[in-house]
Subunit: 334 residues, 2 copies
């Protein structure tokens, strides 16, 4: 791990004080004193590698609490690993800190990392910290492992499959409105719940690995439910139908939609849910029920896979089977 151009009191001290302790679980990280980390091969497993970037003002608000920025960065990446059925192991962080970022801010950011490194049993094994004249820009590489050849992919959905999601959908996108003070009509506790879901998503790291051997196609919902199911359809060569009234909403989201029906489109296309979206053979309902009980995560059937009608076609229908019109494209980051 290295630091160049940073403004902090002592660049190497920054790494030693704030980040090196987060590598404790991985001897091959060499306490972040070297150029690289060494990871022993694990025969019988595939390494699963993902990387996500976040920019202040694009993916989070510049004045969000630094702990939460750090934790969201970690969780967004762990959500990708979970969707592939992988158990998370190692993180690498590249951070471009705005000039003048103070030690208090950095300590809080590192504390957020520490909390999630502990909560999810992972290690920080390397990275880079640099100074930037621009906004805080973060990228994280997350490495996990899954039994060789058994990782879950977006491809593999088959006509007749049932489509499931974990947890509830729409809280992330509504949570952004909540954070921006744009859900003023809602009770304060609903606003707080939604804001919390936006700021601190819960990656489904227990559920994901348990879907190995059960799900045919899987990804996490980050761009938006409809768009992400479209991704599965595109690479699987199928289409899909979502039954709108089956999509699971939290009480807070339900209250928001009751207040303003137009928010339903945001729920379906807004993204930032970090729930798992997967398909299973129609006969797997029992296995899914049992998995939901075992993991304590709600798993809801929201639709079905059909033969390809048009490229990546995802239709949303209401209780009468009538197609619900949705804005094209999907959610744009603010």
């Amino acid at each position: 791990m290295s630091t160049t151009g940073a403004q902090a009191p002592d660049e190497f001290g920054l790494i030693a004080e704030l980040f090196a302790p987060l590598s404790a679980g991985c001897p091959g990280a060499l306490n972040l004193t070297d150029d690289a980390a060494f990871l022993a091969a694990e025969p019988g497993f595939d390494t699963v590698a993902t990387m996500d970037a976040m920019v202040a003002g694009v993916h989070f608000l510049p004045d969000d609490p630094p702990e939460l920025i750090a934790r969201k960065l970690v969780r967004v990446n762990l959500s990708d690993l979970a969707a592939k059925g992988a158990v998370p192991r190692h993180l690498m962080l590249a951070a471009a800190f705005p000039k003048g970022t103070g030690m208090d801010w950095l300590r809080a950011f590192a504390e957020g990392l520490r909390q999630d490194v502990e909560e999810f049993g992972v290690s920080l094994i390397g990275g880079d910290t640099v100074a930037t004249p621009g906004p805080l820009t973060l990228s994280l590489t997350a490495l996990g492992r899954v039994e060789a050849g058994r990782g879950l992919r977006r491809s593999g959905a088959v006509p007749g499959d049932h489509v499931y999601v974990s947890g509830s959908i729409g809280d992330g996108a509504l949570g952004l409105l909540a954070v921006q003070g744009r859900l003023a009509g809602l009770p304060p506790d609903a606003v707080a719940t939604l804001a919390g879901r936006y700021r601190l998503p819960q990656p489904r790291i227990v559920l994901g690995p348990a879907l190995v051997g059960l799900a045919r196609a899987s990804m996490d919902v980050s761009d938006g439910l409809v768009q992400d199911l479209g991704h599965i359809c595109r690479v699987s060569g199928v289409s899909a139908v979502i039954e709108a009234e089956r999509v699971p909403l939290s009480d807070a989201a339900r209250a928001a939609v009751a207040m303003d029906q137009s928010l339903l489109a945001l729920v379906l296309t807004g993204g930032d849910d970090y729930e798992l979206l997967f398909t299973v053979p129609a006969g797997a309902a029992r296995g899914i029920e049992s998995l939901a009980r075992r993991t304590g995560v709600a798993l809801t059937r929201i639709g079905r896979i059909e033969a390809a009608t048009q490229a990546a076609g995802v239709s949303v229908v209401d209780a009468d089977g009538v197609v619900v019109p949705l804005p094209r494209g999907g959610w744009r980051h603010f």
Copy 2:
């Protein structure tokens, strides 16, 4: 690989057109159509993982040719792997592109990646592209492999070891001055040579793996020769002496220093060399000579390791053994 908030005509088209072809060498990258890549375990090898970030205006000039920005990013990371004795395999790219970045620029950037993916036999296996209101900000994760347990580290230097560097030192830092038009007194071809070395470093990917079993401690010179030898000393618990007149300079660098003696300090502390700095037992001179012949890379003994006198002490001495004073700290990015 995913794209959020980008301004390009079609976010997914961007990945499909520009980046997916770079994954061709790695089936587990799934043509960059999934959330993550799957890499099979390679028994008998350690994975070596490194990550470096670069920001426009800090680590390169905003109007540098996009091909060269891409290639420098790749090379800086491959240099870290080489220094660990690793053979490079896989890359992951996180790119925050300024809003309004045009397709011509992006195509040229991808073309630079393509050239180096081909030249170094690696694959792009994933990453993330986002839009930023700030400067172009890039981070790259590079994964390589080395025989299990045999990777080179910064630690391991022993008093009595000889200190070597590959190639020539100082061209990168002088090259930045050249690019900035601050070496006006030099012949144009020397200016061009130095600028080229700054813009397109040559990672020592053949030499690095050949040092396994020969070098005791190794890293690449990125912060500056003196500072980087200091890093080796710190983690090895030793000190070191560099004999200034032994430090290998290119003809162009020699001409620059002849023109302005004060540039010698920049050569020794300026960084951006991406040469390998390593120590070997005093008896290894024959092996080093043979290696230099085999690889065609100049290997020059520049000093020796001594018992620790002070924390991470590196002294530079002239031909008479008199200590050469150097500015504290080292090079700051412009």
